[in-house]
């Protein structure tokens, strides 16, 4: 029975001499989930997932139970299970930590999916920068195969045939977007597809496909083992379980932590168990949540906020990937957002017009603010441009460029104001 404040996802971290060793993995609760699930009614599995209120850990927080149910009822002889290990959100390294320290947990989660959906083939799409993790995963797969947790007639169950392949990414953030990721697996350039159709209907090689994040999969055995309700109790009613968070920036203890959803944000920043407060001696100013595509919050306004899906949402913030980037008051919001804008301009896949050219124009305007050369009207243009790029872009990348920008604008309007030369007679108008 798990209780709050006890490691769940990181429970085996550092306890496995060789994290790819199946035997010790099993001694520490590994494969208990798989052994249990094959005794269960598949619909009950879906119910447990619903109960757990596990929200997707890749960033979009889509309920995993719902996604599994959609795929479950999709009609097809062939279904694919895909693990999104592209982990591209800056400030995020929790999937890497899972792969490094407990790869078999992910494999177990994916194998459970394989069983539930009668799938024969799983894929782990892992970002190219994580090459040493490829080796680890490959070893884990080999070991699982040897122990007959992958391959034919898994657990001796006739017809339970399932295996997993590894596909390397090669440096494209957009490949974290599920449809781009599938294109990339198919040996194509990783640009997103037109949606609908949804991937649960038309996915990899046009077959119904499940795409979940590494951490989402790692949670599956926990839910099966402990039950959905117990899992939910680790977090809050609106989002169950623990969350791996990555603390970076100007905190003393940068690194990876497993926190119960609902933990006070203040604790995460300041308690010695977690962030330990400012590393620079200067007051902390703002927090960027969930990666570059996430929103920004001002530290001083977040004293009473809990790190949970619901509390953050109530404050127009998100969990996202679990990144928590903390900046002290030496960092101007404009400098910060310029770097963010640069990231998006660099990572735009170039397929759709608003993102391909719009991210560049956003960056250029940010640089203009940075040089304090903006003129009256530029701010309105900036906001309208952000709205258009959000509304017109084809995929989540272009659609989320504005998230941090808008929250920055809202939190620190005065920093933008001083970037504008009010003396000049020049004036700009929004023409669209």
């Amino acid at each position: 029975m798990v209780v709050r404040n006890q490691a769940v996802l990181t429970a085996r971290f550092n306890k496995l001499q060789d994290p790819t060793d199946v035997e010790t993995f099993c001694q520490l609760g590994g494969y208990a989930g798989l052994r249990k699930v094959v005794e269960m009614n598949k619909v009950d599995v879906l119910d447990e997932l619903d109960q757990s209120v596990l929200l997707g850990r890749g960033g979009a927080a889509y309920p995993v139970g719902k996604k599994w149910r959609n795929l479950f009822y999709a009609e097809s002889d062939t279904k694919y299970i895909v693990c999104n290990a592209d982990e591209g959100e800056p400030g995020t390294f929790k999937d890497m930590a899972l792969i490094a320290n407990d790869p078999l947990a992910i494999i177990e989660g994916m194998t459970i999916a394989g069983y539930v959906f009668n799938s024969q083939q799983g894929y782990i799409y892992i970002r190219g920068e994580y090459r040493n993790m490829h080796r680890r995963l490959r070893q884990a797969l080999t070991n699982a195969r040897k122990a007959n947790f992958l391959g034919e007639n898994i657990l001796g169950i006739p017809g339970f045939n399932y295996d997993i392949k590894i596909i390397s990414g090669a440096g494209a953030y957009v490949c974290g977007e599920s449809s781009a990721l599938l294109n990339s697996i198919e040996g194509k350039t990783g640009r997103p597809r037109v949606k609908p159709p949804h991937l649960a209907e038309v996915g990899l090689y046009l077959k119904p496909t499940l795409v979940n994040n590494v951490e989402s999969y790692a949670n599956i055995p926990v839910i099966i083992r402990e039950g959905g309700a117990a899992f939910r109790a680790l977090g809050t009613d609106k989002g169950g379980g623990t969350k791996l968070v990555c603390l970076t920036g100007h905190v003393k203890n940068r690194g990876l932590y497993e926190v119960n959803l609902g933990t006070p944000l203040h604790d995460i920043l300041y308690s010695e168990k977690y962030g330990g407060g400012s590393s620079t001696g200067r007051p902390l100013k703002f927090i960027h949540f969930g990666g570059q595509s996430g929103p920004i919050g001002a530290v001083e306004q977040l004293d009473d906020v809990a790190y949970s899906y619901d509390d953050l949402r109530a404050n127009e913030l998100t969990v996202g990937s679990g990144a928590i980037v903390v900046m002290d008051d030496s960092v101007s919001i404009i400098d910060y957002l310029t770097v963010v804008a640069e990231f998006f301009a660099h990572e735009s896949c170039g397929k759709c017009t608003p993102c391909r050219i719009g991210t560049m124009r956003i960056l250029e305007l940010m640089e203009k603010f940075q040089r304090k050369e903006a003129i009256p009207g530029d701010l309105e243009i900036f906001e309208t441009m952000l709205t258009h790029v959000t509304e017109l872009s084809a995929c989540g990348l272009g659609q989320s460029v504005s998230v941090s920008m808008f929250s920055g604008l809202r939190l620190f309007p005065e920093e933008f104001e001083v970037a504008i030369n009010r003396q000049t007679a020049d004036q700009k108008e929004v023409i669209w």
Binding site: P90, E129, I166, A170, G171, I185, G187, T189, V340
Partner: protein, 162 residues
């Protein structure tokens, strides 16, 4: 890709059963195996033929994915993170130091062909910034002295695996 023979190329392709699904794996492995760090056109054509796809598809991938290069690189490519968490946690020290020591700008190869440095987005090592990444290896929490030491070490061939 001067240093890899046709035989070695075939070995890498065969490792993935010449399956077009494994194009990225193949390209990344080939590039990592080379000393000049890129996929030249002849190799792209060779891969295309082996995988039964067109050169255009292979090229499009090479040009799209940031890790894959279509031009010859330096012997050592020093990657520095330019994403926000690192950028505001000391990473500019790295680019400044490298510029000073190597005497070249970002994305330029030193005259001796030994070094090139460039920014990359988050490498998942933000808790170790400032750092330099060479191939798979992260050199974490660097100071200015450590950076010049690293360069001399690389020059002296102290990291043969890289």
């Amino acid at each position: 890709m001067a240093n890899i023979t046709i035989k070695e190329k075939n070995e890498i392709i065969d490792r993935y059963h010449a399956n077009p699904e494994q194009t990225l794996n193949i390209l990344v492995d080939l590039q990592y195996a080379s000393t000049d760090g890129y996929i030249d056109q002849a190799t792209a054509q060779f891969i295309a033929k082996r995988l039964g796809v067109t050169e255009t598809r292979i090229y499009e991938m090479i040009s799209f994915y940031a890790i894959l290069k279509e031009e010859s690189q330096a012997r050592y490519v020093l990657k520095i993170c330019n994403s926000a968490p690192c950028h505001f946690s000391g990473e500019p020290l790295v680019s400044r130091s490298l510029k000073e020591i190597l005497g070249v700008n970002e994305n330029e190869i030193t005259d001796d062909g030994m070094f090139l440095y460039h920014g990359i987005p988050c490498a998942g090592a933000c808790f170790q910034s400032p750092f330099i990444k060479v191939k798979d290896r992260v050199f974490p929490n660097l100071t200015a002295e450590q950076i010049s030491q690293l360069i001399s070490d690389l020059r002296a061939g102290r990291y043969p695996a890289l």
